[in-house]
Point group: C2
Chain length 229, copies 2
DNA sequence: CGCTTAAGTGGTCATTGTCAACATCGCCAA
DNA sequence: TTGGCGATGTTGACAATGACCACTTAAGCG
C-alpha cells in the first residue's frame, strides 16, 4: 500500500491520524457498551492496527481516556454555546444551557461519567490540561449569563460581585450536575422527560424553595426506581 | 475442632464469614486506593484465602461491588439519621442532613462514586435490591423533614402535596449530589470547607437565587482547579 | 543517497476474571 | 454409627488484557 490517499484525508503517515482514529473508536465503543472497560487492544483492532500501535500515541490507558474525556468537554461546550445562540434574554439563555447540559449527559451517560467520574481518583493527580480548558470555557459561559442578569438583575463583573457570581455558578452547576447524574443513574425519571425536569428544577431553585415549590411534571418519580408501574 | 468457639469470633466454617471478610477487605482497599479497580484476587489474598474462594459468595465482581455499595448506603443512612437527632427544628434538620451528606461523600470519595457511579451502566439492568432499600430510607428522611416544614412551612403528606414534596426532594438531592461530586472531583473547593459550602449553597437555594445570592465563603474557588496559587 | 526519527509490528510477561475438577467440613437421615 | 450431601474452600488451567521490549518500515530532510 503506497499512499492509499483518501479524498481530502490527511494521512501523512502509515495509518494516518491514528490518534484520532483511536479516540473515535473509543467514543464508538463507549456509546455502544456504555462502559469504559474496553480494552486498548479492541480499539486497535477496530482501527485495523496491531495491539501495540496505540501506545505510540497514548502512554497509558488513562491518557487515552483523558483524551476522550476532553472530547466530551468540547462537545459539551459547543453544544451549550449553540443552545444559547437562539435565546435573547439572559434568563432564557440560562434555561437553554440547563436544558442542553442535562441532555448532553443523558444522551451520553458513559461519556459524561468519564468526564466527571473518577478514573483519576487514585493518585489525586492533576486533571489533564485539555479538560481544564474546556471546563473553564463552560464556566465562562455561565458567568456571562449571570452577569447579564440571568438570575434576575444584572450582576456586572465587578470585583465586588465576583463572589456572588461564583456562588451562583456553584449552585447552578451543582444542581445541574446532580440532576444529570441522578437521571443517568436512573434514580429519578423517566429520563425522556429531561427537558421538563431540568426546567422545573431550575425554576424551583430560582424562585427559592422556601417560597414556592413548583411541582414536578406528571409521571416523574423520585427515588431508586419507579414505585409502582 | 468441634464447635467453633464464639469467643474470639464466629468462624463456623472453614474461614468463617468470608462474605463479610471480603466486603471489608474491599472497603479497605477502596479507602486506601480510592479506586474500584482492585482485583478480586487481592481481596482473596487479604482475607487469606485462595484466589477464587470469593466466587462462592459473589457470582461476579459486579455483585461484590454491589454489596460494597449497599454498605455505603447503609452508612449514609445511619449517618444522616444520626445527624438529625440533635436538631429540633425541621429547618435545622435539613441543614444537618445536607452537611453530613456532603461530608459522607467527601470523606469516602470512591465509595460515594461506587454508590452512584456507573459500574452497572452496561446492561442497564436493575439496581441491586439492597441499594434500593437503603436509598428509599434516605428519601423517606427527606420527605419527613420537608413535610414538617423544612422548606419554610409544613407540607403535610396529603396526596395534593405529594408532588410538591417530590419536587423538593429532587431539587435538594440534585443540589447536594452535584455539590458532593464537584467537591469529590476537585472541581470546586477546597474540600475542607465542605461544611461552609453545603450550608451556603443550601441557603442560597432556599432563599431563591433570583432574590438574593448569598456569597460564597472566602477562599473558595469554582472551576476545575485553583486559578492561582 | 543516506540519515534520523516517528509510526507500526511482533513477541513477551505478569495479572486478571472465570471455569471445571477436586478436597474438606458440618449436618442430617438411615 | 455411618454414609452421604451441600456449602465452602482449593487447585489447576485458560484466554484476555495492560504494559513493555526490540525490531522494522517509511517519511522527510539535507
Amino acid at each position: 500500500m503506497s499512499k492509499a490517499n483518501v479524498t481530502a484525508g490527511e494521512r501523512p503517515y502509515h495509518h494516518g491520524d491514528l490518534q484520532r482514529a483511536i479516540v473515535n473508536a473509543a467514543l464508538e465503543v463507549l456509546s455502544e457498551t456504555q462502559s469504559t472497560e474496553f480494552s486498548l487492544r479492541e480499539l486497535a483492532r477496530r482501527a485495523g492496527v496491531t495491539h501495540n500501535a496505540p501506545y505510540k500515541h497514548f502512554a497509558d490507558k488513562r491518557e487515552l481516556l483523558a483524551a476522550v474525556s476532553a472530547v466530551g468537554f468540547d462537545l459539551l461546550a459547543k453544544r451549550l454555546t449553540n443552545a444559547m445562540q437562539g435565546q435573547t434574554s439572559p434568563r432564557a439563555r440560562l434555561f437553554a444551557i440547563a436544558r442542553d447540559y442535562v441532555r448532553h449527559g443523558v444522551e451520553n451517560p458513559a461519556l459524561y461519567r468519564l468526564m466527571f467520574g473518577g478514573y483519576l481518583t487514585g493518585p489525586g493527580d492533576a486533571r489533564p490540561a485539555i479538560e481544564i480548558v474546556a471546563a473553564e470555557k463552560t464556566k465562562a459561559l455561565l458567568a456571562d449569563a449571570i452577569a447579564q442578569g440571568a438570575l434576575g438583575r444584572p450582576l456586572p463583573k465587578t470585583p465586588r460581585n465576583e463572589r456572588k457570581i461564583a456562588a451562583g455558578i456553584l449552585i447552578f452547576w451543582s444542581l445541574m450536575h446532580g440532576l444529570t447524574l441522578l437521571l443517568v443513574d436512573g434514580l429519578v425519571g423517566p429520563s425522556r422527560k429531561t427537558d421538563e425536569l431540568s426546567e422545573s428544577v431550575l425554576q424551583g431553585m430560582l424562585e427559592g424553595l422556601a417560597k414556592r415549590i413548583s411541582a414536578l411534571p406528571a409521571g416523574v418519580w423520585v427515588g431508586p426506581r419507579e414505585p409502582a408501574k
